[in-house]
């Protein structure tokens, strides 16, 4: 179909402007969709882990909860880090308010990681936060076949799975979690930097909340 044909047809029903979804709304709907598709990988259990759900896993010896320091009012941990039999870690976040205790827990477990929570409408500045991130290719397909962020998690257990073995000496892992209005985590962006990582200063943004902008490693 050529341009003239399209224009003559368009002239028969002249919508004068494109109906535009405002940026803030588009961002909210994107976060919603991304949470849902990640949630769909966690079926059959759809909720974030609760202690009652964690118990059977403990009994089976599948996972050992290691770091459970910060408790919410009702005694629910704000987050938990469980060690899986294969050496990977599962991070579950019930209340994404302060990322530093989680970061400290990971460091206490020998994982050199920087953790940040990114609320809606914000992103980290600067981005990229390192000039020496692994490219997406390298991050996904490392030589030893053990990527840092394991996706899909291949487990019924909800949460984010990382493999500390992917972090080599001198490297720093960066974990950014997007956070919804009710302080639940929505998405994760994870990568490994060979060099220093800039601290995250939250700035207003209507771009994607996590990680460097699209095309950063092209």
């Amino acid at each position: 179909m050529n341009k003239a044909e399209r224009e003559s047809l368009a002239g028969l029903l002249p919508f004068e402007a494109e109906p535009q979804l405002p940026n803030a709304r588009r961002r909210l709907l994107k976060e919603f969709v991304m949470v849902e598709i990640r949630r769909s990988a966690e079926r059959p259990r759809r909720r974030l882990v609760r202690p009652a759900l964690l118990a059977p896993a403990l009994a089976l010896g599948v996972a050992v909860a290691v770091g459970v320091p910060a408790l919410l009012g009702g005694g629910t941990p704000a987050y938990a880090v469980s060690k899986n039999a294969d050496g990977t870690l599962t991070i579950t976040i019930n209340q994404a308010k302060d990322p530093k205790p989680l970061e400290a827990t990971l460091r206490g477990m020998g994982v050199n990681a920087v953790v940040d929570y990114i609320p809606g409408g914000k992103r980290c500045s600067p981005q990229p936060r390192s000039t020496s991130f692994l490219s997406r290719q390298e991050a996904r397909n490392p030589a030893d076949g053990r990527p840092f962020h394991i996706w899909p998690p291949n487990t019924d257990e909800p949460g984010f799975r990382i493999d500390p073995a992917a972090i080599k000496p001198g490297q720093t892992a960066v974990l950014e979690f997007s956070v919804s209005a009710d302080e639940k985590t929505a998405g994760i962006w994870a990568n490994i930097s060979n060099g220093p990582v800039a601290a995250c200063t939250l700035v207003d943004s209507d771009e994607a909340p996590l990680g460097p902008p699209p095309g950063w490693d092209d």
């Binding site: 179909m1 047809l9 494109e18 535009q20 994107k30 849902e36 996904r140």
Partner: protein, 204 residues
Amino acid sequence: MDMSLRARIRDGDAEAFEVLFEEMARPVFSHAFRLTGDWSAAEDVLSLTFLEAWRLRHRIDADGGSLRPWVLGIATNVARNLRRAARRYDDALARMPRGDPIPDFADQIIGRMDAAEQLAAIQQAYGSLRRQEQEVFALCVWSGLDHAEAAQALGVAVGTVRSRLSRARKKLEKLAAERQQASGSRQVKGDHDSVVRSVREENR
């Protein structure tokens, strides 16, 4: 060479899917709005389209061009069977963020006083087409797909797209001519506003 976006999405790469959302959210919303004529339904179609795209990602061929026809095809199906799609994702839809004031589309199009009337007239003319003609018209004319892409989006033959579009054109031209006659000789032939203006005058 980096894997194509297609291949990455097919393999379940959520980050790649996010890139697709960024690229396609606007065209999908516009398409959905034109098919449904309703802001809130268009938002539902937008969300459901991407939930469906993720569910159906295994059907993507690793090779091929833009995913635009595929995504707009899903959006067309979702808009056509909104209730059925909503049932599949009723759990998810319950969690969908709502409560923002719905923007007034009439305010958005232009500051003209007759914007809402004009929109209503366009929707009325569009509504006179059969559903299949509406879909082809929206995909080819408003979303800019060519015949082959629209055929791919709808899962029909290219010839079918051509004939539906041609029927749509005939109906709209006939409608325009009838309304022009009805509104008297003041109308300038070929004036793009003619459909709109004549409908408005007819309603007086």
